[in-house]
């Protein structure tokens, strides 16, 4: 009885005031960003760094806010995101089946292992000229080079997941009378899922990197990469710093989104 009433009191207390643990957690989360702005501001007011290189953090935030509200930065962020999503979609559609096929067959995997490792180690940006040659100056060459880099990550991770499927689980399904195909669908697929999702998350992060760089250097009309390089060239410092922050936020949110999906879908992962 006493424990029930204690619980009730605790619930009431929580609804009235902020739970000290939650408050502490939020303070810890926010401490980092606040410290960054504080250090930035200190450098700015003390003049430790030339004011021509570093604007005030508050001016930057205010300018970024204006740019977001006016829609010009939102448009660029959306263009970048849309390219990343297209690249990611292509990479996933082509990468997951390829990874499964590769992982299911040891000798095929061994044959292609060197190629995968080689191209994984090749900077995707080194491929820009090749993709420009193949796909022209348009938007698709940017999407294609990002898709290629993301595709390798997905293939590699999916194949790895298939190869590391627990043999006991497969044996258990087979002992219950599952056909090879059925066991693959019911067991290997789920066994592979955690590693596949890790691959997808890394792929979307890499896709963003490649797209932003491509927008800077291979003739984009819009996008965050184009915006950052334009701001630098026209010496619009608050826009440049603000665009960098927004690009970072884009990457952070994509990662957060995938982590949330991962913990929902593969709730058993690592347990």
């Amino acid at each position: 009885m006493s424990s029930i009433s204690e619980n009730e009191t605790a619930t009431k207390a929580r609804s009235l005031t902020v739970d000290p643990k939650t408050a502490r957690r939020w303070l810890e989360v926010l401490a980092g960003p606040f410290a960054l702005i504080a250090v930035w501001w200190l450098i700015y007011v003390t003049g430790a760094l030339d004011a021509n290189l570093l604007p005030s953090p508050f001016a930057t935030l205010a300018d970024t806010f204006t740019n977001i509200v006016s829609g010009s930065m939102l448009f660029d962020a959306w263009q970048t995101l849309w390219r990343v999503l297209k690249a990611f979609f292509i990479a996933t559609i082509l990468g997951v089946p390829a990874g499964i096929a590769l992982g299911a067959n040891r000798s095929v995997y061994r044959c292609s292992e060197f190629l995968i490792d080689f191209f994984r180690s090749t900077p995707a940006t080194a491929m820009f000229p090749l993709f420009l040659l193949l796909f022209g100056l348009g938007d698709f060459s940017k999407v294609a080079v990002a898709a290629f880099a993301a595709w390798l990550l997905i293939v590699f991770n999916t194949a790895y997941g298939v190869m590391n499927a627990r043999p006991t689980r497969l044996l258990a399904a087979r002992s219950m009378g599952a056909s090879k195909l059925r066991a693959f669908r019911d067991v290997v697929f789920f066994e592979t899922l955690p590693q596949t999702l890790v691959g997808l998350r890394s792929a979307v992060s890499l896709g963003l990197v490649v797209i932003v760089v491509a927008e800077m250097f291979i003739g984009a009309r819009d996008g965050m990469g184009k915006r950052i390089i334009d701001a630098q060239i026209s010496y619009d410092l608050t826009d440049m710093y603000g665009s960098i922050l927004v690009s970072g936020a884009l990457g952070y949110l994509l990662n957060l989104f995938f982590i949330t999906i991962e913990t929902r879908i593969v709730h058993w992962s690592g347990k």
Partner: protein, 258 residues
């Protein structure tokens, strides 16, 4: 007719790994509808034997007949030592138990009936809607055994099912398994590395020699049911166990002296 009715007949079984002969024309008839423990020295191929009898592992030569029928015409179930890797963590415990019935194509209604009937016979004191990884080892292995029993198999194979559990849980699980056997009278083949467990649970203990493996003795355990924790201190139990131990030591020592 070489095969007898009411037997699991192992005929001319041969198996070797990388040139090491484990079984060479091994022949034996195991009576069906019995609880049989398999015990022997390390590396004699206890698990290999039930893996081959159950069809999980191919044999080099030979055949196994269940009451004269081949393995394909027999319903078998298998309980693995590593329950953590044998259960499907993406399914709840209940869905795990449903799974073999789903494989045999039963409708949801039929499956529910079967599972409910099973759980009426063997009620579990924990929530089967939970995922396996939230459960204790004993609970997970209970789910494994229920999943194995739900298809009403002709033979249930258990490969050291309790060796990953702590002692207290092992004692409890022995009682559970015993009551399942007494209720269903399904043929059970238990591989054990624990002689006490092998004798306590079984009607027969199949004692194996070192490689190449032969039958050292097929010991009948004539202890009354149910066999409780007190059983293992009774004189007849101690007598049977030390008899098995003597044979085991003779086989191990014989192998080591060579």
């Amino acid at each position: 007719m070489t095969q007898a009715d009411g037997f699991i007949s192992i005929r001319n079984l041969s198996k070797s790994f990388d040139g090491t002969t484990v079984y060479d024309t091994f022949n034996f008839d195991l009576p069906s509808k019995r609880f049989i423990s398999i015990f022997g020295p390390n590396g004699c191929g206890k698990s290999t034997l039930i893996n081959m009898i159950s069809g999980l592992m191919p044999m080099d030569r030979g055949e196994v007949l269940y009451d004269g029928k081949p393995i394909k015409a027999t319903k078998i179930s298998y309980v693995f030592q590593n329950y953590r890797e044998a259960l499907f963590p993406w399914m709840s415990a209940l869905e795990n138990i449903h799974y073999p019935l789903k494989l045999s194509g039963l409708s949801a209604a039929e499956r529910n009936n079967r599972v409910e009937a099973l759980l009426a016979d063997f009620p579990v004191p924990f929530d089967l809607n939970a995922y396996p990884y939230t459960m204790s080892g004993g609970q997970q292995q209970t789910v494994s055994i229920l999943r194995a029993l739900v298809t009403d198999p002709d033979v249930l194979f258990l490969d050291e099912p309790f060796s990953a559990l702590d002692y207290e849980m092992t004692l409890f699980m022995r009682e559970q398994l015993q009551s399942m056997f007494l209720k269903t009278r399904t043929s059970m083949l238990l591989v054990s590395h624990d002689l006490e467990e092998a004798v306590q649970l079984a009607e027969h203990v199949l004692l194996l020699t070192r490689r190449p493996t032969r039958v050292a003795e097929f010991v009948e355990v004539d202890l009354p049911w149910p066999r409780t924790a007190a059983t293992v201190t009774e004189s007849r139990f101690v007598e049977l166990k030390s008899h098995c131990l003597n044979i085991f030591q003779r086989e191990v020592a014989g192998g080591l002296a060579a």
